[in-house]
């Protein structure tokens, strides 16, 4: 069983769904793992406001509750990305991508600021709309090839997946991975969102990298 990402070192079997660790997926998995650990140990940055006209400044405190919630979302997002990196089943992959999407919504939405909330809302709408091409593509792959397992889809024993279905899958992932754009527009990277907002960018990058492999091998 050879694939674009190299021969798997290890295949974990969950019934019909295989989780496989090939050189490609392992490297992406480790990247997600390292950044999840960063999110575990990182402390939030405090936004410093300078009072105009004097030399006073004050730091905005992030409440413990908000800190806990955002850290929880960042860690959940890390686990979701790890799952999406190693899963070997098309439908399971789309579910993990949706999980990454909703975690990103959570990371952005945790900041209590109307501007940021609006960005979170707009992104949430895109993420929800993106589940349509995602699940549609997965179901069409099952209908046209008779299997959802990527291992079976490599083996050339199954009919080819139509190109338009692959395009649907990629577009769905693009929609779910649009979080960094919104986070950047809401100016979250510096002050209110740091450092957890980094998980948005990283998870989007990772799911893009993985979907390329998926589309090329199936």
């Amino acid at each position: 069983m050879d694939s674009l990402g190299g021969t798997p070192y290890y295949i974990l079997e969950f019934g019909d769904e295989l989780v496989y660790f090939s050189p490609y997926t392992v490297s992406l998995f480790l990247l997600a793992l390292v950044f999840t650990l960063f999110a575990v140990i990182a402390k939030p940055e405090r936004q410093v406001d300078i009072a105009f006209g004097g030399d006073a400044y004050y730091a905005k405190e992030t409440s413990l509750q908000e800190l806990k919630f955002r850290r929880f979302m960042a860690i959940a997002c890390g686990f979701a990305s790890m799952g999406a990196m190693v899963t070997g089943d098309v439908f399971n992959f789309t579910l993990f991508i949706s999980l990454v999407g909703i975690c990103n919504v959570g990371i952005v939405a945790a900041v209590k600021n109307r501007h940021v909330q609006n960005a979170a809302y707009q992104y949430g709408i895109v993420a929800l709309a993106a589940t349509v091409p995602l699940f549609g593509a997965a179901a069409t792959i099952a209908a046209t090839t008779g299997t959802l397992s990527m291992v079976e889809l490599w083996s050339n024993a199954t009919p080819a997946v139509p190109p338009v279905v692959k395009a649907l899958l990629v577009l769905g992932v693009m929609g779910e991975g649009m979080a960094p754009f919104y986070a950047a527009k809401a100016e979250m990277f510096r002050a209110p969102g740091a450092p957890y907002v980094i998980m948005c960018s990283l998870s989007s990058l990772l799911i893009f990298l993985r979907v390329i492999e998926v589309v090329l091998v199936i």
Binding site: G15, G101, V105, A109, K112, L128, F135, A138, A142, A143
Partner: protein
């Protein structure tokens, strides 16, 4: 070449085009949210066209993802628009202010637990919603969150039993059924809580 499958796909794709086009031209945020619910339907249609038992098992996650994200998005919408909640008092109906809600809720919850699984959760959840709506109460969000977390943990544990010690499949089956029962009850009682909040 045009089998039933392709004809079905044609209809669903047309529906998807119409729904997404509506999403392109719609400018109002609330209407976009409502349209999203409409957009979800073609995706369920595409899955259903698979036409096997597998399709039914895939529809369930598809449906749940849509509902979950709608829940989160509508709450974000409320916060973003700064909408204040209206204090809703318990329903002012004479029968409901007597012991009827308690008895009906207990019956519904008992029957739901007997049923177990998804529908059982729905029935028992309905009992809880009804009680909260009729009575009004203080919010117990921590409790609900904890119940949700526990049911999730039961579910995950059942999954590992299925995968690694399959001899105990009966135990795993029951744990999965109980996990999902609690999960659905919690989700539905949340609806009742949000409605009945604001009075003691």
């Amino acid at each position: 070449m045009w089998q039933e499958y392709s004809i079905g796909l044609l209809l669903v794709f047309i529906a998807a085009v119409v729904a997404f086009f509506a999403l392109v031209v719609e400018k109002d945020d609330l209407h976009r949210l409502l349209l999203l619910d409409l957009v979800e339907v073609p995706s369920l249609g595409i899955i259903a066209l698979l036409g096997t038992d597998l399709a039914e098992a895939l529809i369930l996650p598809g449906l749940v993802v849509g509902i979950a994200e709608l829940l989160a998005l509508s709450q974000i919408y409320v916060t973003k628009e700064g909408l204040r909640e209206k204090a809703v008092r318990g329903l002012n109906i004479e029968v409901i202010q007597a012991d009827a809600p308690l008895i009906i809720s207990v019956l519904l919850i008992c029957y739901g637990i007997v049923l177990s699984g998804f529908t059982g959760g729905g029935v028992a959840g309905l009992g809880v919603v009804f009680y909260f709506m009729a009575r009004g109460h203080r919010e117990h969000f921590e409790l609900l969150e904890m119940a949700s977390g526990i049911s999730w943990a039961i579910w995950i544990f059942a999954f590992f039993v299925f995968m690694f010690i399959p001899e105990y499949w009966l135990l795993a089956l029951f744990m999965a059924a109980i996990g999902i029962l609690m999960k659905v009850i919690v989700k539905m009682s949340l609806v009742g809580t949000m409605w009945g909040d604001g009075n003691g």
